[in-house]
């Protein structure tokens, strides 16, 4: 039998994602990829995978799925969540774990994840990865382009995602300590490319205003609510290309920050672009979050990019082995229970 994960409930919107498919935007193909590439990397490190292995990315509400492999090692990184490990699909309760760790599961066990907190996405990596054919070099799901990932769409109940491995490496589990995946309120942005569609006064307003992430935000774009920005030269431009992080200002003056699944081209003036180092944190902002922007230069942004890369490299140093319950400890626990019914942690 092909090793697999069977989706019992897809959550709000769970898709297969890696770091996207750059290189084909000239053909109209969106880059896509994980909204939070740092969480993506962390999940894969915990699962023992190489850098760009596809994961499940859950948004706001996590999925439930059953293990259909002899063993599977699964790792979780991203927003806070309560992750229940049930012995089978009929169990009503089980062990509860938090993200930022790996766990070894056996055939028939079920993972049930509830609402995500303090973030928007949770990356779920499986040791060895999913056995899904890449499209244009990537397994990321492109829902608009109806390609990649699992049948070019978000997961639905009953999907059976094949795995590369039917069992796992014999090793201990790990957690990551001290990796901050909370979103800041201040994001840095480089002015342009259409800064000349806005007066100096309006640009100043943009950088001093506080915005709220509004409903209607999705993987394509984050819609912001706040004091509108007025255009000085109209709001239609001849369509040009869009970069991830572009902040476009449509006719109503409410900015939209373009995220991973954005269209390759668009026709609204773009006042500024969030710097690449801040994009992973941008992907963590939930609806209702408050956000402001601060101007930086391209050179400063490149320096911040270097720091982000260094921070990602440092994740490996934050891996902590989770000590397995040894046979001696287990029998001692049993003994304590038999004798007094109380386990004294200091004993």
């Amino acid at each position: 039998m092909t090793p697999a994960l069977r989706i019992i409930s897809p959550g709000l919107s769970t898709t297969v994602q890696d770091l996207g498919r750059p290189g084909f935007q000239r053909l109209g193909v969106a880059v896509g990829g994980a909204l939070d590439p740092v969480a993506f990397r962390a999940a894969n490190m915990l699962a023992g995978n190489s850098g760009n292995t596809g994961v499940l990315e859950a948004v706001y509400i996590g999925p439930s799925f059953a293990v259909e492999a002899d063993d599977a090692r699964i790792a979780f990184a991203g927003a806070d969540a309560t992750i229940e490990i049930l012995d089978d699909a009929n169990a009503t309760s089980g062990e509860t774990i938090a993200p930022m760790r790996s766990v070894r599961l056996r055939r028939g066990q079920v993972v049930r994840i509830g609402s995500l907190k303090n973030g928007t996405t949770l990356c779920i990596a499986v040791e060895g990865g999913f056995d899904i054919a890449p499209v244009l070099g990537s397994v990321s799901t492109d829902s608009r382009g109806q390609m990649g990932g699992w049948q070019g769409r978000a997961l639905i109940a009953g999907d059976v995602l094949p795995l590369h491995r039917s069992t796992v490496l014999e090793r201990d589990e790990y957690r990551i300590d001290g990796l901050d995946l909370t979103a800041p309120r201040l994001f840095r942005a480089v002015l342009g490319p259409q800064r000349d569609y806005f007066s100096e006064e309006q640009i100043e307003h943009f950088f001093s205003a506080e915005y709220t992430v509004s409903a209607g935000s999705n993987r394509m774009g984050m819609r912001l609510d706040g004091r509108p920005i007025r255009h000085s030269r109209g709001f239609n431009i001849v369509s040009d290309a869009i970069a991830t992080g572009s902040i476009q200002v449509p006719g109503n003056g409410q900015p939209i920050v373009l995220l991973a699944d954005h269209q390759t081209t668009g026709g609204y003036p773009k006042i500024a672009t969030v710097i690449s180092a801040d994009l992973p944190a941008l992907g963590r902002l939930p609806i209702g979050a408050k956000v402001s922007f601060a101007p930086v230069t391209v050179e400063e942004a490149a320096g911040e990019r270097r720091k982000l890369f260094a921070a990602v490299d440092e994740i490996a140093g934050k891996l902590v082995r989770i000590a397995p319950p040894s046979a001696a400890v287990a029998s001692r626990l049993l003994e304590c229970n038999l004798i007094s019914g109380v386990y004294d942690a200091a004993a």
Binding site: P22, R26, M147, V238, D240, V274, V298, A301
Partner: protein, 244 residues
């Protein structure tokens, strides 16, 4: 020498802008620069994305800093006039039959032409592929004859079938996938413009396209043959055009 501006689009992309209008001369400059930069295989350039009047260059700033990239772009622009833009010439079959051209009567009414005249005028010109965008494989082909260049519908449709041919102001577009659409639909193309299995687009920026009207019956035959993968539309010829 072309006038151009280099605009920042964050720290990993910049825009080389030649103007602010849709114009073949600007487009040729954009496409020539794209082909020139691509041919150089400059370390640090991730990809180039040509649009109507500008070229976006995605780059890795830790390999190729913004200023160094701008210098390489300037070198390329100095050579633009000596280079030709390479593309293919296509004869793209399109069925304007009423079963597909749901807005043809509306277009005829708005333009005071007969449906037959709309078809003749639409299929008359050789179109230039300015760019691909919006959906995988979707080409923006111009220019639509001025009398046919209609604005959007008042109420966009939530869904149109893959292959739909639309007039989008001065552009003609064939939508490679089912999509919401606010433009007038005047026909359908039986040839897939995007190949999901191979991840390839039929048309490329700088190609030239003529629409060849086919009957509903011919349309069906072509759809069947394309689905069976026995039909691979080949370009009629190559061309190399000088940058104006």
């Amino acid at each position: 020498m072309f006038d151009y501006k280099v605009l920042s689009a964050g720290d990993t992309a910049l825009v080389v802008e030649f103007g602010d209008r849709i114009d073949r001369e600007l487009s040729t400059a954009v496409l020539s620069l794209a082909q020139g930069l691509d041919a150089e295989r400059i370390a640090g350039i991730v990809e180039t994305v040509p649009t109507f009047r500008s070229l976006m260059v995605h780059y890795e700033p830790l390999v190729l800093p913004h200023a160094a990239l701008a210098a390489r772009i300037d070198e390329q622009i100095k050579k633009l006039r000596t280079r030709e833009v390479i593309g293919h010439v296509w004869h793209l079959p399109v069925c304007y039959d009423p079963c597909f051209s749901i807005d043809l009567d509306d277009v005829a009414r708005r333009t005071s032409l007969t449906p037959q005249q709309v078809v003749e005028r639409h299929s008359g010109p050789t179109y230039h592929v300015y760019m691909l965008g919006f959906l995988p494989g979707q080409a923006y082909m111009g220019d639509v004859p001025a009398e046919l260049a209609l604005d959007r519908l008042e109420t966009p449709r939530t869904k149109i079938p893959a292959g739909s041919l639309a007039i989008a102001a001065t552009m003609s577009c064939v939508f490679p996938l089912e999509t919401p659409c606010g433009w007038h639909i005047i026909g359908r193309c039986p040839i897939p413009l995007w190949d999901h299995a191979r991840g390839t687009a039929l048309l490329a920026p700088a190609d030239k396209v003529t629409f060849v009207p086919v009957s509903a019956r011919e349309y069906d035959t072509l759809v069947t043959r394309a689905a069976e993968d026995v039909l691979r539309l080949e370009p009629v010829s190559e061309f190399a055009g000088a940058v104006a």
